[in-house]
Symmetry: none
Subunit: 207 residues, 4 copies
DNA sequence: CATGAATGAGGGTTCATTCAT
DNA sequence: TATGAATGAACCCTCATTCAT
C-alpha cells in the first residue's frame, strides 16, 4: 500500500534506524524549543522529521517519552559541564561554577522552558529535574558541611542553605533566561548576574 | 409538568447572578487546586458548580480567563498579607516578612501549583505572577537602595540582588510547598526555613 | 465553531435527546444487522443517524455499549414473546413454544448474527446471551424435574437434558437462520423444523 | 563484521523452509488458543516464532489464511478420530461416537474457541466448519435413512433430525468446553454429558 | 530465503464552544 | 439569565503490509 517513496534505503539497517531515530529527536527538540511542549503535536514532529506517523511510534511511546529522552540528554550535559573542577580563590571557584551553570542553561534555555512546563504536570520529568537539582544540592551541601566543620562558616544548616542557594540560581535561570520573567531586562547581563549571585552566596555562607 | 429545577429564584436578579458567578468560581478553585489546571475541564467545573454548560460562558470567556480571575484574588491576598509593616530589629523584620510570605503561600499552595503550570504557557497568567513578583522586588529594591545610600550594605546591585532574593524565597515556596521538589523532606519545616533564609538574606546584604 | 445547521430544534429538550438517541440506536441496529459488528464503524453509525461524531459519545461509551443496549432489547423481546402460556396437549405446547422461539429468532436473525459474533469475544455480551439461555434452560429444567417426580419421564438428568435441548434449538436457529450453515437448505422450512425438533424432544424425554 | 544471527543453516534448504513455516504455524496456534483470534496480531506471531515480519508473508497471505491452515489440520483430526468404527450394541456405538467427538473437541477446545470467532465473519472458515459438520450430518443421515427403511425408527425426517442431533452435540461442545456458557458447571462432566446426550439421541430416534 | 524499517490508512475519543429555547 | 443537546476540529494510536537489501 506504500505509494510514496520512502527514505533513501541504506545497506546498514541499523544505521538507517539510528538515523531515523535521531532525525525524529532533532525535529522534536527544535519544536519543543520553539513552540513549547503543548503546542507541539506528534504530527508536527513527524512532518519536520520527514517520516510517517507510524514511524514515530516505532521509536517512542508517546510525546512524554520523547521529551524525557531529550531531557535526559540536556540534563546530562548540564551536570557534566558544570562539573569542571575550578581552581583559584574560593570566590573565583564559586563564580566559575555559577557562570558554567548559567552559560550551559542559556544554551538550553529554550528547551528548558519546555522542561519546566512538563515538570509541572508530569511526574517523570519532574523527577528528572529534581534529581539534577539534587546532585547540585548534594555537592554544595557536602562542601558546606566540611566548611562548617572547619569553622569557616556562619552558623548555617547545610541542608537548607544548599537548597536555598541552588534554587536561587536555578530559578534565576528559568525566570530570566527561559521566560523573561524579570523586570528591568537591561540591568541583567550574564556577567553581572554571575558576580552578584556569587558574592551574595559567598557573604551568606562564609565568615 | 415539573420543570427541571433551577437555582432558587431571588428578588434581586443581580444578587442571583453574582451568586452563580461565585459558585462557578468556587468550583473552579477547588478543582484547579485538587486536579491541577490541565486535568480540570469546563465540564468538571459546571458539574461541580451545579450550573449548565452554557452558563459558564455567560461569565467567563474560557478556562484561562476564569483561572486568571482566581489568580488575581490569590495574588492580591498574597501581597496584602505580607505587607504588614513589622516592627523590631532588622533581622526580626526580615524574618517576619519571609514568614508571612511562606505562610500565605502555604495556604494557597495547591492553587499556586496550578498557577505555575499555567504561567509556563499563558502569557496573561505569567504576567500576573510577574507583577506580583515585581512588587516584592520593587519593595526590596527601594529598601536596598536606601540602605546602600546609608552605607549599611555591602557593595551590591540593588536591582539584581532584590531579584535574586525574591526568586530564592518564591521558588523555595513553589518547589517545597507546591511540588515537593526537595530532597530530605524531613529537614524542612517552616520555622527552620524562614530562619535560615532570613539569616542568609541578612548576611548577604548588610555589613 | 458550528457552521452547518444542526438538527431541527424542539421545545422539549428531553424529547429531542430521546429522539437523537433513538435515531442512533436505529442506525446502529440496521448496520449491525446488514454489515455485522466488525464492519460497522462509529463513523458509519453517526453518518446513517445524521448526527455528528461527538453526539454518539453523548449517549454511548463505545461500540460495545451500544451493541449491548440493542441486544438487551432483542433479548427481552425474545424471552417475553416465547413466554406465552400455551394450552393443549403436551405435544402441542412443546411445538408452540419452539415455534414461538424460532419465529421470534427469525425476526431478529440478522441482528442475532452480530450477537453471536460479539459474544465470542465480549464477556458482557456473552453473559447477556448466557442469561437468556439460562432462563430458557431453567424453565425447561423445572418442568422436567416435576415430570420426573410424577414418573412421566425416562430416567434423565434434568440439568443436562434441559441444556441439551435448549442448545439444540438455539443453535439450530443460529446456524440455519442467521448463518445459513446447514446443508440442503431446501429441506428446511420453519414448520418442518419445528415439528421435527418438537417430536424429537418429546420422544427423548417422555415415556 | 558480525551479521545479525539467522536461523541455523541446513544442508537442505527445503527442510529449513519447512521448519520456518512450521515454527510460524506452531506460534500462531498457541497464540490463537491463548489470546483468541482478535487479540493475536501478526507481530505477536512472528515474535513468538522468532522470525522477521517479512518472513510471515513468504508463507501466508494474511491472518485469516494462516488460521484456515491451522483449522484444516484440527478439522482433519476431529473427523478422523471420531471415525473409529465402534462395535457393540447400538447404544454403545452411539455413546462411543459422542464420547470420541467430545474428547477430541476438548483437546482442541481453546483453538475451537477461535474457530467459532472467525467463523462468525470469515466465509472461508465458516465453510470449513460447515463441511466438517456436513460430514457428520451425512454420516448420521445415511444411517438414519437405512434405519428408517428397516422400520427401526420413529417417523422422522433424516435430513432435519441428523442436523438437529449434530448441532446439539457440537454446540454443547462449544458452549460448555470452549466458552463455559452453561449454568451449573458442576453438574457437567464428560461422562455424564456423553451418557445423557446418547440416551436422548437414542430414544429420540429409535423405536 | 530472510530481514526489519517504514508506511499510512483506518479507527478511536475528547472537549471547548455554540445556539435555539 | 439559564439551559443542555449538538457540534466537529483536533488529536491520538495500531497494525497489516511492502520492499530494498
Amino acid at each position: 500500500m506504500a505509494k510514496t517513496p520512502r527514505k533513501e534505503p541504506r545497506a546498514d539497517k541499523k544505521a538507517m534506524a539510528a538515523e531515523t531515530r535521531s532525525a525524529i529527536l532533532r525535529a522534536a527538540q527544535k519544536l519543543f524549543s520553539t513552540k513549547g511542549f503543548f503546542d507541539t503535536t506528534i504530527a508536527d514532529i513527524v512532518d519536520k522529521a520527514g517520516v510517517s506517523r507510524g514511524t514515530f511510534y516505532l521509536y517512542f511511546k508517546d510525546r512524554e517519552q520523547i521529551f524525557a529522552t531529550l531531557l535526559s540528554q540536556a540534563v546530562d550535559e548540564m551536570f557534566s559541564l558544570s562539573a569542571s573542577r575550578p581552581t583559584g580563590s574560593r570566590q573565583t571557584r564559586i563564580e566559575s561554577a555559577n557562570r558554567a551553570y548559567l552559560e550551559t542553561f542559556k544554551r538550553h534555555r529554550a528547551f528548558m522552558r519546555s522542561a519546566l512546563q512538563v515538570a509541572t504536570f508530569d511526574a517523570g520529568v519532574a523527577k528528572a529535574l529534581s534529581e539534577l537539582r539534587g546532585k547540585f544540592i548534594d555537592r554544595i551541601r557536602t562542601h558546606l558541611e566540611r566548611s562548617v566543620a572547619r569553622g569557616e562558616c556562619h552558623d548555617i544548616d547545610p541542608a537548607i542553605t544548599s537548597f536555598l542557594l541552588v534554587i536561587m540560581v536555578e530559578f534565576t535561570a528559568y525566570s530570566w533566561l527561559s521566560f523573561g520573567w524579570q523586570p528591568d531586562k537591561d540591568d541583567f547581563d550574564l556577567d553581572k548576574v554571575v558576580k552578584e549571585a556569587s558574592a551574595l552566596w559567598s557573604r551568606a555562607v562564609y565568615k
